[in-house]
Symmetry: C2
Subunit: 273 residues, 2 copies
Amino acid sequence: MKRMLGLIMSFALVIILVAPSANAKTTKSNDASKDKSKSIHVQIVLFDGFDLLDALAPYEVFAAAGMYSGEAITVELVSAEGKRSVPSGMNGPSLEAEAKLDPNRSGIILVPGAAGKPAGNSEDSVPNLLRQAKETSLTALMRQAFKNKEVTVATVCGGSLLLAMQGLLKDRYAVTNAIGMAALKAFGAIPIDARVVEDDPRLVSGGGVTSGLDVAFHLVERELGPRIANAVEKLFEYERRGTVWRAEGIEPIDFAAGQTASAKGQPATSPAK
Amino acid sequence: MKRMLGLIMSFALVIILVAPSANAKTTKSNDASKDKSKSIHVQIVLFDGFDLLDALAPYEVFAAAGMYSGEAITVELVSAEGKRSVPSGMNGPSLEAEAKLDPNRSGIILVPGAAGKPAGNSEDSVPNLLRQAKETSLTALMRQAFKNKEVTVATVCGGSLLLAMQGLLKDRYAVTNAIGMAALKAFGAIPIDARVVEDDPRLVSGGGVTSGLDVAFHLVERELGPRIANAVEKLFEYERRGTVWRAEGIEPIDFAAGQTASAKGQPATSPAK
């Protein structure tokens, strides 16, 4: 009986799965091989107390995009200190950083937030964990990364706050977890209420935890095209949410503030409330 | 200047975050303390080649629910072999299982799927990784877990297939990744096209990778109530998707099959196509 089940399984799997398999192969032999020389490398930065999902949801999107594209994109976990075991926040499991963050390597550097009590100053609070990360050599490395024109810096959740605390988001459009938006502004960034914000092609930030999926899907589409993004989306049974905000096109009228937008042809005064 | 920024930050964080902090504390001193004696324990099962997100998205939802409820729910990573480092699929990072899966412990046991090539029989294919997991002592342990009336078994993605391969889903309603639905049926389960399926309160299955979030949120609401589920949802900036399917209420007419539903008062024949 067990053997029969095994046979049925083999048949079923072969039959059912032939289609995606064939697709993957087609992709591999067409687009991916010619892109291999310029494959995109993603470094995901771990620090003590990092948030598991902030880091690993994008990690898995990039890894699957690599699988579907014949490694046109590669991803690794890094830390400012180099290869080491990095504990996640809330007494969560540790992850092994494989290498030292290299700000001179072209590609994408993604900074997650911290996991912990969302408020207060206790040792296990998010504000404290971010402050501690700011005091490490990560700050100098990220400063170098911002100077590298071949690098896109991406953030998820508290990752934006960490960069802002490092003084790297002055007058840059960005988003973070809703809880941290006022702090983001206090650190000199221009907070934008969107799930994903692209300040310019080299700075992409995401909101709360699960927005990391949307950040990664946006970057996969931008770098590898919509077919790879769609394939991973289907595999993960996820649909991206929200418009990726950019300072382009017509600016909407800000009715709440009673001010007019800068777009031409808009009325000079706001309608009466 | 740095000091001033530090001050601004402290102020901003204190002011902004006082509200959530106060809420958390209220919860802690009200509901949670009386529930502490019957806190719910979640065991998330790791096996060689497991999918990171399948395991860690629910992990983090349960961990945050614990944080917001004063540990009314606790979560740990386990393996069939006990405390060990377990490699994830697609050459991903390893996670440390903290303990051996205990099928006699009441609570929730969550089984993730595998990460790898979605088809084929290569060493790094999902079908192969699941087959290998099936050959471990995990199968006997899960059989025990199914007999324990104090245990809810939950699955994400290929986790359902793994249980089905173990012969544990005979005639049970379940869902898995869309790619594996036919295989799920071949192994004797009744596949249901929903994001989350509750066969009975003791068996809850999820579809592809990111449905693990919805599985965990459903269980958090069921066990701890909607206020905790909502708090975590807000923190993670996620909205649960889809109806949790159960074999209750009126059964919809199956127009595609040209058959009538069993619900009373429905027409005996299907409308012409």
